[in-house]
Amino acid sequence: MASKSRALAAGALAALMTWGTMAAAWAAESKYNLPTPQSQVAREIYDLHILILWVCVGIFIVVFGTMFYSIWKHRKSVGHQPAHFHENTKLEVLWTLIPFAILVGMAIPSTKTILNMRDASNPDMTVKVTGYQWKWEYEYPAEGIRFLSTLATPREQITNQAAKGEHYLLEVDNPLVVPVGKKVRLLLTANDVIHSWWVPAFGIKQDAIPGYVKDAWFKAENVGVYRGVCAELCGKDHGFMPIVVEVKSQEDYDKWLMAQKAAKAAAVADANKTYTLDELKAAGEKVYQTHCAACHQPDGKGLPPAFPALAGSRIATGDKAAHIDIVMNGKANTAMAAFGKQLSDVELAAVITYERNAFGNATGDVVQPAEIKASRK
């Protein structure tokens, strides 16, 4: 009997120590807690979480202190005789009312935070965010700017053929850029399935849902780069569509805005040019690796049957118009998205040309931006 109780005590102690060590680790480094808040809402959430955590720890100690005391003292092996009480109305009423009162105490600050975080009125600027399988699109309606934001981590790092960088899986080609100290309202929607736009440092997580436009807002307090991820399972590459927000000073933000507008003007000019096969193939390969390779694979062999091969496929080696159609309009009830809305005329022309002249497909066909433009109507 003595050995039994010793084993029990040792076990309980070991469990407590494990939790103790973990709790200490948690307290020491913010990497075990919510990230350092970078907005007022995030700070309120952070404080709420700490408050509730300590209330829970307090209750845990009282209740399980009692239980372990009882386990220690009220054992048969120490000769404790069982009592026979089995109810106590006063006690039962009390331990219904006290938790209720504690809950009311928690509900009050929580309600305040909800009312604050849901008030997206009077924003300084608005950005439209659209989720795609598996990338984000940011549109600044007031500025006429729109761009896609895709994972920038090289494939070799993911497949362990290259050393992983500092921001492995948390880096994108084109981050969302916003000015510091401005209330940014996001209008979120999705094109295919439900995604969720989450940046922990701002305390913002909002599902992007096809057919809905939902709003959310944040006001970044400090210049810097803040990272997040898609939080709603959205298919194969759900884990590979991060979010990066660059918070710039107003001055730097304005400069960035100018550069974006200039680039857009250049792109419009490009769409009117005629390109050679090699130019289109070279440009198309880049577009392919960014937008197509996740499913159809870098070698064009696909992952059949869900993601068909392009190498030798009927579409990529057959009728050019049909090929343009499926790339631009997608295919219903499959993961094949409609890229017509996402990519520019030049990008579409390039990628289709590439697909028709790569992976052993040697059609020799050239698709010019003008053809894409014509098929848009």
Binding site: L48, S70, I71, A83, S110, L169, K236, T334, A335
Partner: protein, 524 residues
Amino acid sequence: MEATHAHEHGHAHPTGLMRWLTTTNHKDIGTLYLWFSFIMLLTGGVMALLIRAELFQPGLQILEPEVFNSLTTLHGLIMVFGAIMPAFVGFANWQVPMMIGAPDMAFPRMNNWSFWLLPVAAILLIAQFFVPGGAVAGGWTMYAPLFLQGGIANDMTIFAVHILGISSIMGAINIITTILNMRAPGMTLMKMPLFVWTWLITAYLLIAVMPVLAGAVTMLLTDRHFGTHFFNAAGGGDPVMFQHIFWFFGHPEVYIMILPAFGIISQVIPAFARKPLFGYASMVYATASIAILSFIVWAHHMFTVGMPTSAQLFFMYATMLIAVPTGVKVFNWVATMWRGSMTFETPMLFAVGFVALFTIGGFTGLVCAITPVDIQIQDTYYVVAHFHYVLVSGALFAIFAGVYFWLPKWTGRMYDEKLGKLHFWLSAIFFNILFFPMHFLGLAGMQRRVPDYPLQFADWNMVSSIGAFGFGLSQLIFLAVVLKTIRAGAKAADRPWEGADSLEWTHLPSPAPYHSFETPPVLK
């Protein structure tokens, strides 16, 4: 009791496979349910280990993302519908007739059918790995519109869910009818053992919500194949509606998986504390309150969809309220132990482990109930930690407690106490190594359902994976204990637990006769 035995030999029973295929006996069917559930536990467990193996280090090592998603999806479906729920139905089959003084279940043939539907559903789920397009990969919650993508495996999932639902509903009808109509004279409702009470309430929950789930997946089916647009925004449908319907089923489902566990724990603790259950009546009322509240909290699973602020507030308050009856239960268990005369055989160890660890899951549930905090931790590993504290150290530990508790009555033999205790301690320790770090991962920003993760999450993922393999292998001890008991356990007394006082201990021999009570017992 001798008379019951003699009578039993008068029947001609088929033997071998036919005995099990055609059986209408509640004990045989209970045994089938329990073995089926254990096989599913191992199947879902192997999937979990593959998941943890992939997550041992950052980068893609052994699984393609799509296969990884299939494994998380089927792990969830198999554990919920294949392991936990059938295990509790197995307990109900064995225990309800014995505990209320009945000879068998009310509808023995339907009972047979409810069980034999399960392997069909299991095959529909597991065979998906071998069909074109791969297994279902949209998460066990089957959210539209993602679920509308994907191949024949998704249709197999829909049919499997239908079959599982039919099985559950028939099981629930059987249990309700048995409890309401077949109690021995004098066994009033408020004298029933708490396990019977929790199952009665659970059975009503099943009848209320399984048809809702069936409706939801039927709409998915017609969206996929018959041109409807319930959930397809492009056709005027509403993707969020799926979530409302699913969670209207899904939240009561959470209690379907935990109320019978409360029942088992409420049998075990008084038996080993040698003291009556504290607050029997308040336990019954708390169970009923939890069941009723479970119908008005569903949208706390979807705080991030952007519902109106007033809805967020309502669902937050309603969810917080559940802490009150749940707290009452925990207080009552502790009060039952208080000033008892406790011993710590394996069932009691699992019960104490349940109370402590389930409560941690309860606390994190409260954290998740606070809408603003939930915004940060929804769909992260924090939530994964939360529901595994509730379902593994909650439901599964209660199942282990129940098996060790009743095994002497079921088999007539005692299990190996040393091995049982080893099973408990290894399970409890590895469980915490496996799931406690997930709280940190979630808070620090790691989302669920991803095969790969940023480098700052590497440490805890490695710890967690080590815990997973320890926990998984520990369950083989359980298998060994059960097999050893059946083959070579020492003869069990009719009432091996001093403090156990329900009818199966006081009125039946060990092992219990094939037909429990052919004449109703006389109650004091």
